[in-house]
């Protein structure tokens, strides 16, 4: 390869859009590969539909299945659960960090809850909250809460001693010590917890929509799968991924706003 070509390649990799274009190109190449493998019969088309069929199914799913309404419903449930998880999870982590006795008494329980298959609690939630969006939001909230509490606690406890001592040397009040030092220092770890929590929340939200047949994208996926409409099912799954992308983009913006640089 000539020097000019090498220089052009390096400049492309460094450019603002270079990595994004490479990512998009890789994705398109993967889709084309799957399409080819199905067409030549190496992948069974009755298990995995052709990407071209999935793309063709989008207008039908959007028009006939009221996917936008369902998307808004699932996204609203996900956003509500996210807000609850963020506010109560971070507060819980702060309380466990602040009160040693509370931490010693409950940390193991919180860790155990984080690992438990909480989706099995949906019959109980149906009894408590009724067959409504509230049940789904509360299931999402319950599933996402423990990782946020644990990661908030980890972030606050992991603040370097010297930064705390800098705050003390400037005579900071305990409130200033928290807002000016502990919280910003813990933010990257808190956001790791939030991302984990959101994954758990979304899985449970779509899962419970699927199970209780209430509405949203989960119910649509269930219906399309029962009709054996595989391209439609996969098209609906793409909308679930879109919900996830929207919430993650929001989360990333929030993190950049709170902590511009790591």
């Amino acid at each position: 390869m000539s020097e000019a070509a090498i220089a052009a390649r390096k400049a492309f990799a460094r450019s603002r859009y270079g990595p994004a274009l490479i990512g998009l190109g890789s994705f398109v190449a993967f889709i084309v590969l799957v399409e080819l493998l199905i067409r030549v019969g190496l992948i069974n088309r009755f298990i995995v539909p052709m990407p071209s069929d999935i793309i063709a199914a989008f207008p039908r799913v959007i028009e006939e299945e009221q996917v936008l309404h369902r998307f808004v419903l699932t996204a609203t449930e996900a956003l509500s659960a996210t807000i609850l998880v963020t506010v109560l999870g971070v507060t819980g982590g702060v309380l466990l960090h602040r009160y040693l006795l509370l931490r010693q008494a409950t940390e193991t329980w919180v860790a155990a809850i984080a690992a438990a298959p909480l989706v099995l609690m949906y019959p109980l939630y149906l009894v408590i909250f009724g067959r409504s969006a509230l049940t789904i939001v509360m299931m999402g909230f319950t599933a996402g809460l423990a990782p946020v509490i644990l990661k908030t606690l980890e972030g606050l406890s992991g603040t370097r001693r010297v930064l705390i001592n800098v705050g003390k040397s400037f005579n900071l009040t305990s409130s200033q010590q928290f807002w000016k030092i502990l919280f910003p220092a813990a933010l990257p770890t808190i956001f790791v917890g939030l991302r984990l929590g959101l994954i758990f929340s979304l899985i449970n939200i779509v899962g419970v929509e699927f199970l209780i047949n209430f509405g949203g994208l989960g119910q649509l996926i269930n219906e399309l799968a029962e009709r054996y409409d595989l391209p439609g099912t996969y098209a609906a799954i793409c909308f679930v991924i879109l919900v996830s992308v929207c919430v993650f983009v929001l989360m990333e913006r929030l993190e950049r706003w709170l902590r511009p640089v790591d």
Partner: protein, 291 residues
């Protein structure tokens, strides 16, 4: 100052005190003990000294002599000790607004730019934004970081980050600057050059400074007096007056007098450092036997 002959006198400053009437910092009979699994450990044992306004005092001793414990006691970060620390006749009972601390470890806030790091104490003091940035810029210039105001610590070298910490502490305009081995993690050349920067700042601000270090050249390069400490328990072994002319720069290290001061202090420290080394080796041996 290479090739310049500087007069050398071996001067023991005797009692490690500035004249009491002059002293801005008085450390009186400090004893600090710690509970350890092997029993009570006396880290600092009846240490007394005082510092006059504008004076630069170095505290030197081998690892484990209680230097950092003394730093934390004077800075008000450690309690449960005997004795008193007074700043301008006011007893220190915790972190004190008159004492600014620079730590050994990297202590800039990674989420704040250089200017926001330096403006931090001014923000805490409640100064309006425009005024605190104006004052912070002055201290950024003072440590030679103009042009880096909008950079973040991750974009700076270790030496630059330590200068940001220094500017941040100076921005609070403390009466006493307390430094705990601030250049310990830097290479020798950067350390000498930063020593120059400290000398310039001290000259410009007439800043009373207490430097904790285990580096003899650094202590002699910067200090007016050096307090030599014994290995555990940390006691005052000697106070040495450094009669090298001021203003100084790192060129002073090539003078004959500088070499003699270094040799004199090493003479005092050698026995202590050997004890520390033997103690450390013995402890490792015992730990190995236990395993």
């Amino acid at each position: 100052m290479a090739g310049v002959t500087v007069p050398f006198e071996r001067v023991d400053a005797g009692a490690p005190h500035a004249a009491p009437a002059q002293a801005i910092l008085v450390v009186d009979d400090i004893v600090k003990r710690f509970e350890t699994p092997d029993g009570v450990l006396t880290a600092v044992d009846h240490v007394s000294f005082s510092v006059a306004p504008g004076e630069f005092v170095g505290i030197i001793g081998p690892s484990g002599c209680g230097k950092s414990t003394l730093f934390n006691v004077i800075g008000g970060l450690l309690d449960g000790y005997e004795g008193t620390v007074k700043v301008a006749d006011e007893r220190v009972r915790g972190p004190h607004r008159s004492i600014g601390m620079i730590f050994q470890e990297e202590s800039t806030f990674p989420w704040r730019s250089v200017i926001d790091n330096v403006a931090f104490p001014l923000e805490i003091a409640g100064l309006p934004k425009a005024e605190r940035y104006e004052r912070a810029k002055h201290f950024v210039r003072l440590v030679g970081l103009d042009g880096f105001e909008r950079r973040y610590p991750a974009e700076l070298s270790g030496g630059m980050r330590q200068r940001v910490s220094m500017a941040r502490t100076l921005a609070a305009q403390p009466k006493i600057l307390l430094m705990d081995e601030p250049f310990a993690s830097l290479d020798e050349q950067t350390r000498l050059l930063l020593g120059d920067k400290v000398l310039q700042i001290q000259q410009q601000l007439k800043q009373t400074t207490l430097l904790i270090t285990h580096n003899i050249t650094e202590a002699v390069q910067l200090s007016d007096r050096i307090l030599v400490m014994t290995y555990r328990p940390g006691k005052v072994k000697r106070m040495v007056e450094i009669k090298l002319p001021r203003p100084r720069s790192s060129e002073v290290v090539s003078s004959e007098a500088f070499g003699r001061y270094v040799a004199q202090i090493w003479g005092d420290l050698r026995e202590e450092a050997s004890r520390g080394l033997e103690d450390e080796e013995g402890r490792k041996l015992r730990e190995g036997e236990k395993r």
